[in-house]
Structure formats: structure tokens, C-alpha cells
Amino acid sequence: MKVLTFNPQRCDGTRACEVTCAETWFKVTDVAKSSIRIQPKEAGFGAQFCIQCGQCIDVCPTNALFQDKQGIVRVRKQLCVGCLSCVGFCPYGVMYFDTAQTLVFKCIACGQCVKACPTQALEIIETDNVSTDLWERKSR
Amino acid sequence: MITINKRQQVTWYAGMTVQALLDALKYSYPHIIVTINGDLVKHDAYEQTTVPDEADVRVIHLIAGG
């Protein structure tokens, strides 16, 4: 499947990805609405975003979460009851909640952040390895 | 001799661990707080921590019941 991946060695902390994500999906620049989060680390930066593991699907009581044909975990907005089960049970802390709409949101590997990144730290790749290795892709 | 919860007397033996004491008392409830002479014993240290003779042991079961 096609998923997002991050190369910490290339990130310079511009955070264009966060802003782009929030703008793409919420038409705002508030990075609290971004599905990718950049954090400073001891050396450089780290990123967190959904790795499409699908563990949230079974936790959802309303079938609002599903894996699409491409393997991406998506939200059926009309079914989401805003119950935070997936938010609390996501092992990676990358399911978010939008209080205004009382809906959850997450990365669906749309690739807009990839285009926005000035240092090519982000990439959409084809892989079946869903692990947090995707947060630490090494330079080839 | 050690005292459990200010009431029950239990015969002490050398090498008695917290876990062995809990097993002997059939204290199987998972939500408990164990202190020995006022010091908290962490949950993951029950197997290693030994109980000294004359100890004042408290095993506080947190309330339950639907």
C-alpha cells in the first residue's frame, strides 16, 4: 500500500507539512488540525502520523473506521459519534479529534505535505511494512 | 511475627517475599497497595521485595463491586 514516510535527517523544522495538512483538510492554519505532527528532538526533528496499522477499526463501535481498497484507514464521517475510543486506543497517539465538528481525523496519506516539504523529508512509498519505522526512514 | 492491616498476625520466615505473603493470604485482587513499615512497594517488585520480621504490612484493597 501507499503510505507516508518521514526522513528525520532531511527535516529542518519548517513545519510546512503541518500547515499544509491543516489547510488542506480544515482550511485553517492552526496546526492543531494537522494529522502530521513535527516535534523537536535532541538532535533534529521527529514526526508522528498514522502508519495505517488498522488497530482502531475494531475499537470503533459504529463501523465508522475502515480500510479502503488501497489499505488506508479512513473515517466515515456520517457514522462517527465522536466517542474518542480510537483516539484513546491508538497505540501511536496519531488519531485526533476536532471538537468543532465532533469528528476524528487522521492521516490518509494524501501526499499534500510531501509536495509542501521544502527539504523532501516526506515521501509516499509503496510498502506493506506498517510500523513506526515509517517515522524514521533513512536516506538512501 | 508480622502484622497485616493492624490486625492479623502472620508467622514470619526468612526470605518471605511480598508475593509469597500475598499468595499465602489468597490476596488475589489486582487493585492493591502494599506498604511495609509505611514504605510503598511497587507492583512489579513484589517478587523481589522481602518482608522483614516484625514488619507492619498494609495491603490496601481498593474498593470494587459493580
Binding site: 459519534v81 465532533t102 | 459493580g66
Partner: protein, 714 residues
């Protein structure tokens, strides 16, 4: 199945109000006898004083009945309300419905809560409570159609089933046009057993989207199902709006989301290494209670049994379908509402059909299982299923059966009196047959269905039973059967059961560990303080629409470092935040207790108004305080002998067993009286258990008609 012809008896159109900070602002009154349907406003005074849920139930019921109303008078009501926080989806256990009525078992007010979707859907359809009065001539369904803005009273045809699991499907057929409709419907039903017994329960449905089928949770206690069927109500049906995360229109959703997200993470992190509610629900308690000698075995004679491992949590974990989000309201990840799917029914009228068994939960396993000496999972499942579909409370059935079995073994009953059934402990087939007789309304099932209190009278009058013996071993107080814990070594929990408003259940207090094991309540005053704080704190769940389990069945270990770990204050703080977040009303921890005290004291006065509620009515059977028969004494002889030496300075070696038991009895009964004195004092009641006018005034519930009741008893 095609749609049947329903005959409309009455209809009432209404404009669905916008829910404002957890309140619809009106309650629904339906008289199934006269066909009157009206809306009543929710006043600011009601919100401030009684909050919602059980508080609204009691206030509406207080005004609906008369001083002399009996359970089967048409003016008795079934009232159901969730509460302002009910329907919150961001915090586990926030969708409870609380039902109340004058009980056929106790003749005073009973309140009983259940999960399921009814309460929240009702509110979102525009009603903070529903109050059903009157008695219909023929079977009826009350239909509250939120999206359509209509309340309708329908007479149902002859082919309308009564037992819940078939009635539910019939109702779906009648009221749902598509899958979406099924999700928006919620029912309250009873069953044929509710028609023939006094221990009828209410089933509250939820449409399980993963199973694509109906599930039920029970408001079991006190015979509300009996009142329901006596009124000839087949079902209350509500069609709500599609559930969203903000239907309560809370004052501050951000605040709720903050504590909700924290709590969901707490459940995800700690439940797997603590009680594992998510995989085995409350069934984990079976082995624990056995380990602590607290599991009722053979009518509370014993507290443990070698066969307990056959019915412990591991057994049920293997049988419950795993991996499904078994919350009884959206967002409950504690998810204790497990089920056994595809159970092939072995006995009775539904033999051979494949059903979902909702549960079994701890109380059912201990009640119909160990307490009856039954350690066979199939029998527990079968009784769980039939109790639910017949509309019978599993606790009253289990505790009642344990009593009947002891009476059988003591020779009070014999096959001639039980229509040929050999009701020995452990005879699951016989117990099931009594259950089927209750469904059919025949045989020994009719006597049994009256409950322990009336069985005792019947056995004394008709079978020559020794009154003292049956009164000692009949585990009821106020007419309600005990729930499933042994209290002999915990005076505080004897009070936790006895000094209740509605009868012996553990909704109010569960103090056995604090008292008996931890030794944290050494004095009468300590016990009285716990019997003030915990019943008040736990009452509050039922005012707001919360479930108790997420409060104390999963706890971040940081709680160990708090000054009062038993209170789990970081969770109390969560609930305070949600209350503020929903209602916009700032409250303190003390306010929480005061809010409960108002409702609790009103309920006490209500009981007095109905001719009960005094000290005499807080008496408990001796089996709950000490050994009644020699077999019981021998089973714990070492402990009892030691107590004689330590407590009474007696030499057991120089005494007969009868003398030793008599000494224990006097001591234990005196202690219970001492406890009553201390508890009444702490609660602000007279020595006869009457709330004083000063107390009522301090609480702001000194309404003239309330004060009038207590004045007669000063």
C-alpha cells in the same frame, strides 16, 4: 414477518426542543389508561435540586402517586430518565437510564439502572424523562418518534410477542424501515415472567452495529417489569436522531474532550493489566470473591467452593465473543457488556433456537450459579437467557432459588409442594423448570415468583415452616432479595445492604474490602462516615446518567499516591469536569455530595410517606450477619472460636456449638444496632431513621408536603 396492524389510541404532536446543556427542558407524561399524553416543563428548581435521572424519577413519582398507593394501583408510575450528562459519548459509561416505580416486592420506591440506548435517545428526542401512568385495557406500545415530533399510543394485535428477544425483532419489523432506522430505535420491554411474578425486570435495548442485532441490558431490581406488564405495556419505543458527539449541546465540549481522551488512554493502558474488563467483564470477580470467602455459596452459607474454577472469569472469557466493542453506550471502552453469541437453547419454549446471551455478569453467575450450588456454565447461560427474555431479575431469581433450595433440603419443601421438583442445591434442571413455570404462570413458579418475603409467609402459613428459621435464612431486606456478596465478616457492608433506601443491593456501597480486609473502618464512626460518603457519591451517578464501573474498575496507578485512594479522586475530578462541561454549572466536590443528599433524603421521606422507611424497616436477616446453622459455624469454626476469645473473652472450649452461636448472635446483632445509631446520626436522621426538618431545610427540600411527612414521626 410483515407489518402488523396496530390501532392508534392516542397521539400527541410536539416540536422537538433544542437540547440545552444536557437538558431537553420538558418531561413526557403518558397515561396508558386514559390516553392522555402531555408535556411537563422542567423547572429551574428541578434542575438545581434534583439534577435528573433518579432525581427526576423520584420528583415526578412523588407528585404522581398518593400516600396509600400500592404497586398495582393505576396511579403507580414507571418513570425513566437518563440525566444531563447521559448521552455524552466522550467518556466511558455515560449513557445510563434510571427507572423507578413503587415496587411490588418492597411496597416502597425502587430505582434501578440499565445501559442501552433508551435514556439518551429519549432525551435527544426531546424528553428529559418519561412518566407512564394508568392501566391499559389491552396490550399497548408507547412510541416516541423524535424525528417525526409525535408521541403515539398504539394497541398491539394478538400476534405481538411478549418475551423480549422475540418482541424486539417484532418491534424492529414494525418501526424500522431500514438499517439506519434500526440504529435509531431503542426499546424498553419486559416478558411473560413479569406478568406472573413480582420480580419482573425491564430490558433496555441497544442495536449492536457490529453484530447487526439487538442486545439488552437490564434494570433488574425491584419488579419494575411487573409494574410495566401490569399496566399492559408491551414496550416503550423511541426513535432518536442519528447519534453525534454533541447532541447534548454541552456548555464546554473542549473540557469534556480533555478528560475523555485522558480516560480512554487510561482504559487502553491499564485495563489489560488490571481487571481486564474489556475481555471478561465483571465475571473476573467470581474467583476473587471465592478467594476472599465472599462468594455466596448455597444460600450464603459458605463463601467459597472447590468447584468455583468451573465458573470463573477464564471460563467466561473463552465463551464471550472477543474483539467487539461491547459498550452499552457509545464511547464505553470499559466494555463490560459482553455476550455469548449463537447459544443454542437447550430447554423451554425456545429450545433449539440460536440466541445471543447478554452476559452472564458477576451477579448472575454468583446468583443462579454458586449461590444455588450450580457450577455448570450451560445452566448459568440458560438461566441468564430465560430470565432476560421472560423479564425476570437474575438476582432475585438466584437469591430466591438459593432460599427455596435450602428450604427443600431442610424439609420445609418436598416434591409434593414443588409440583414434583427436587429442589436440591445443584439441581440446575429443577431450577430451570421453576423458571419456565414463572414464564407460563403455573405450578411452584407462581409461589416462587412472589419473592422471598412472601414465600416465607406462605411457607409458614401453609407448610408449617419455623418462622425464625425462614426469617434467618431468607436473604431479603425490605422485601428485596440480596445481591451476591457475603457480609458476615463486614459490619459496614451489613449496613451497606441494610441501611439503604431501596433494599439490599450494592448500588449504594461496597465496603467489604475497606472494612473486613483492609481494616480501615475500625470504629462505628468510621463505618458511618463511609456509609455516608459512598452511598452519596454513588447516588450521584444515577442523577447524571453515569455508570459507576469506569470510576473504580480501571485506575491509573498514580492513584496509589493520593491521600484517599479509595475515593479515586482523579476520576471524581473527571466527573466534576464533565458535569461542568455539560451543564455550565460550576460545582465543588461538596456540591456533588449535597446534590445526592437531596435526592437520597427525598427518597427516605418518600418511603416513610408510603408507610415504611423507619428503623424497623432497616432490619437484616441474621444469615447476613452470622452463622444460622451449625454446619455454617463448623465451616469457619477456627475463626469464630478465635473471635469469641478476642471479642467476648469467652472460652469456646467450654461451650457447646449452640452456646457459641448464641454468643455470636447477640454480639453481632448488638453491633448492627450500634451501627444504625452511628449512621443515622451521620446522615442527620432521628434515632428512628427519620430525616429531621432541619436536615431537609439545610438541603433546600423542605417543601411543605415533604416536611408534613416527617413531622408525623418526630
Amino acid at each position: 414477518m410483515s407489518k402488523s396492524t396496530l390501532k392508534m389510541l392516542a397521539a400527541f404532536g410536539y416540536e422537538v426542543p433544542t437540547i440545552d446543556r444536557g437538558y431537553a427542558g420538558q418531561t413526557l407524561y403518558v397515561n396508558v389508561g386514559s390516553g392522555t399524553i402531555t408535556a411537563k416543563p422542567v423547572t429551574e428548581d428541578m434542575k438545581t435540586k434534583f439534577i435528573g435521572g433518579r432525581g427526576f424519577d423520584l420528583w415526578l413519582l412523588w407528585h404522581g402517586v398518593k400516600d396509600g398507593t400500592k404497586w398495582n394501583d393505576p396511579e403507580n408510575e414507571v418513570v425513566i430518565s437518563s440525566g444531563p450528562c447521559g448521552g455524552t459519548t466522550q467518556y466511558p459509561g455515560s449513557g445510563k437510564s434510571i427507572a423507578a416505580a413503587i415496587s411490588p416486592l418492597t411496597d416502597v420506591v425502587i430505582d434501578s439502572n440499565a445501559g442501552g440506548h433508551f435514556g439518551p435517545y429519549l432525551k435527544f428526542a426531546g424528553w428529559d424523562a418519561i412518566e407512564v401512568q394508568g392501566k391499559a385495557e389491552r396490550d399497548v406500545v408507547v412510541y416516541i418518534n423524535g424525528p417525526g415530533g409525535q408521541v403515539q399510543l398504539w394497541e398491539v394485535p394478538e400476534d405481538c410477542p411478549t418475551d423480549t428477544h422475540v418482541l424486539g425483532h417484532w418491534l424492529l419489523e414494525q418501526f424500522a424501515d431500514d438499517e439506519q432506522d434500526k440504529q435509531q430505535l431503542a426499546f424498553v420491554t419486559a416478558g411473560t415472567g413479569s406478568e406472573h411474578t413480582l420480580m419482573g425486570c425491564l430490558n433496555f435495548s441497544l442495536y449492536d452495529r457490529k453484530r447487526q442485532d439487538l442486545r439488552y441490558k437490564q434494570a433488574g431490581r425491584g419488579g419494575i417489569g411487573t409494574v410495566f406488564r401490569h399496566k399492559k405495556i408491551k414496550a416503550l419505543v423511541v426513535k432518536g436522531f442519528p447519534v453525534k458527539g454533541n447532541l447534548n449541546h454541552p456548555a464546554d465540549l473542549e473540557r469534556i474532550v480533555r478528560v475523555g481522551a485522558d480516560m480512554q488512554r487510561e482504559v487502553a493502558t491499564w485495563d489489560p493489566v488490571q481487571n481486564r474488563m474489556r475481555s471478561r467483564g465483571t465475571s473476573y470477580l467470581v474467583q476473587i470473591m471465592d478467594d476472599y470467602d465472599l462468594l455466596p455459596v448455597m444460600n450464603y452459607k459458605f463463601g467459597s467452593h472447590p468447584e468455583t474454577p468451573k465458573i470463573n472469569g477464564d471460563i467466561w472469557e473463552a465463551r464471550y465473543t472477543q474483539g467487539l466493542p461491547d459498550g452499552c453506550w457509545y464511547g464505553c471502552t470499559v466494555a463490560c457488556a459482553h455476550a455469548v453469541d449463537n447459544w443454542k437453547v437447550r430447554t423451554g419454549p425456545y429450545k433449539g433456537s440460536c440466541v445471543i446471551v447478554d452476559g452472564p455478569e458477576y451477579e448472575t453467575i454468583a446468583g443462579v450459579g454458586s449461590n444455588c450450588g450450580i457450577f455448570e456454565p450451560w445452566a448459568i447461560l440458560e438461566m441468564n437467557f430465560y430470565c432476560d427474555t421472560y423479564g425476570i431479575d437474575t438476582i432475585s431469581f438466584g437469591t430466591g432459588m438459593a432460599f427455596a433450595m435450602e428450604c427443600y433440603e431442610a424439609g420445609i419443601l418436598d416434591p409434593e409442594k414443588t409440583c414434583g421438583l427436587e429442589l436440591n442445591f445443584g439441581n440446575a434442571e429443577a431450577a430451570l423448570e421453576v423458571l419456565h413455570q414463572m414464564g407460563r404462570g403455573e405450578g411452584f413458579g407462581l409461589i416462587f415468583g412472589l419473592g422471598i418475603r412472601k414465600m416465607k409467609t406462605y411457607f409458614i402459613e401453609h407448610f408449617g415452616a419455623d418462622p425464625q428459621f425462614v426469617n434467618d435464612i431468607g436473604m431479603e431486606a425490605k422485601g428485596l432479595e440480596y445481591s451476591e456478596y457475603l457480609t458476615k465478616e463486614s459490619l459496614a457492608q451489613q449496613g451497606g445492604y441494610g441501611l439503604t433506601n431501596k433494599g439490599p443491593q450494592h448500588d449504594e456501597a461496597w465496603l467489604i474490602f475497606m472494612d473486613q480486609v483492609n481494616n480501615e473502618l475500625p470504629t462505628f464512626e468510621d463505618k458511618a462516615e463511609a456509609l455516608h460518603y459512598f452511598p452519596m457519591w454513588r447516588t450521584w451517578f444515577g442523577l447524571c446518567g453515569f455508570c459507576k464501573l469506569p470510576w473504580n474498575d480501571v485506575v491509573d496507578p498514580k492513584n496509589k499516591l493520593s491521600s484517599e485512594p479509595q475515593k479515586i479522586m482523579h476520576h471524581v475530578e473527571n466527573y466534576r469536569q464533565i458535569f461542568i462541561g455539560v451543564t455550565g454549572q460550576e460545582i465543588t466536590y461538596d456540591d456533588i455530595i449535597t446534590q445526592s443528599e437531596r435526592v437520597y433524603n427525598l427518597q427516605r421521606v418518600f418511603n416513610i410517606r408510603l408507610g415504611h422507611g423507619l428503623r424497623d424497616h432497616d432490619a437484616i436477616p441474621y444469615r447476613s450477619a452470622g452463622p444460622v446453622i451449625e454446619e455454617e459455624y463448623h465451616s469457619r469454626e477456627e475463626r469464630y472460636d478465635q473471635q469469641l476469645r478476642e471479642w467476648l473473652n469467652l472460652d469456646p472450649a467450654a461451650m457447646t456449638v449452640a452456646e457459641k452461636m448464641a454468643a455470636h448472635r447477640q454480639y453481632r446483632e448488638d453491633r448492627y444496632e450500634g451501627l444504625i445509631d452511628a449512621v443515622y446520626k451521620r446522615r442527620g436522621w432521628t434515632n428512628n431513621g427519620v430525616p429531621t426538618p432541619e436536615k431537609l431545610q439545610a438541603l433546600g427540600i423542605d417543601y411543605p408536603e415533604v416536611v408534613e411527612v416527617v413531622k408525623r414521626h418526630l
